[in-house]
């Protein structure tokens, strides 16, 4: 039983029970019934349908990428063209243009990041899934932590430990008396704000998008089941659900792109010393 189906059942029951009103979906949407529960090293783990869809999306993306480069030809076929265009968007548009001339080694990592986030975000509007695993905070958090560790490690590797931290603490080109203001901002920015906003931006977009779609869809069902004047607004709510689905498609691509571009920007800051 999907959580959306349970919420739909609640709405239909309220509609027939009469007088109870619309049961708005809440946080229960994001905590579906676990399929498997196990405990590892004292930590409770649940395999829910969201986890299963994460696996399905990742495997589907891997299969698509593997199929796109199988038997490559000089004049590409359709699948190869799509795969190459997608990879070139990240490799040329982000790894080469944003990270810089020494950024091409990061193209595989950035492409993996982009396509992983894209594949999982697309689940938000695909029927039967209809929730993005990125709307559970753990997944964007882990991605942001990986990126955080990576850009600090690259900064230390490229510039040396002393120079990297000195440039963060004492930004070059700033008059000495401004350090009181600039140093806390730089420290917070580099070590706390950047990974936090990376994670929260992706999470909040997917969370809000899912909530919007669920509210409009369940609202349409509720309003259409009324037997008074409210039935006129049922189609309006359904229309809004359709419009929001298209908007969600834009947000899906945009959030995957923005996550990757920002990671490219942070890598650029780590590789090239501030001049």
């Amino acid at each position: 039983m999907t959580s959306s189906a349970l919420a739909l059942g609640n709405v239909l029951a309220a509609a027939e029970g009469g007088g109870e009103g619309f049961q708005a979906p809440g946080l229960g949407e994001f905590y579906p019934q676990p399929l498997v529960t196990f405990s590892l090293l004292g930590v409770e783990f649940e395999i829910t349908r969201i986890t299963v869809w994460l696996w399905i999306a990742t495997i589907a993306m891997l299969v698509f990428m593997a199929a796109a480069v199988r038997r490559p030809q000089i004049v590409p076929g359709k699948l190869q063209f799509i795969g190459e265009s997608g990879y070139s968007l990240v490799r040329d548009g982000i790894a080469r243009d944003v990270v810089g001339p020494r950024g091409l080694p990061f193209a595989p990592f950035l492409a993996s990041l982009f396509f992983f986030i894209l594949a999982n975000n697309l689940l938000s509007i695909i029927p039967f899934a209809q929730i993005s695993p990125m709307s559970k905070f753990a997944f964007p958090l882990v991605l942001a932590l990986i990126c955080w560790v990576l850009y600090i490690y690259i900064g230390i590797r490229e510039q040396g430990v002393g120079k990297y931290f000195k440039d963060i603490l004492f930004l070059p080109g700033v008059p000495a008396f401004m350090y009181i203001l600039v140093t806390p901002i730089e420290v917070l920015q580099n070590f706390i704000v950047r990974p936090f906003t990376l994670a929260v931006r992706l999470f909040a977009n997917m969370f809000a998008g899912h909530m919007l779609l669920v509210v409009f869809s369940l609202g349409a069902v509720y309003l259409l089941s009324r037997d008074n004047f409210s039935i006129v607004f049922g189609p309006v709510s359904a229309l809004m659900a359709i419009v929001m689905t298209f908007f969600e498609l834009l947000v899906i691509f945009l959030q995957a792109y923005v996550f990757t571009v920002l990671m490219g920007t942070y890598l650029n800051g780590s590789i090239e010393a501030e001049h």
Partner: protein, 75 residues
């Protein structure tokens, strides 16, 4: 101490409404700059499109953090 005025109900909605003011203006400024730049020099539209979307996403993030915080700290 007497309570003279009290706010009950979904205070999170009010919080989100207040949080959406700034990013609403911010996104408007980003796209206004993009439109003006394209109007002045149409061939630069492709170059600056990246920055337009980047600025939109960064500004939108704050509004969405405001949307999520009531759920995090809520009842």
């Amino acid at each position: 101490m007497d309570v003279l005025a009290e706010l009950t109900g979904s205070v999170g909605s009010i919080g989100y409404g207040l949080a959406a003011i700034g990013p609403g203006i911010g996104v408007g400024i980003v796209w206004a700059a993009y439109i003006q730049a394209t109007a002045r020099q149409p061939e630069s539209a492709g170059l600056t499109r990246t920055y337009a979307f980047l600025g939109f996403a960064l500004s939108e993030a704050l509004a969405l953090i405001g949307f999520v915080v009531p759920f995090v700290f809520g009842t």
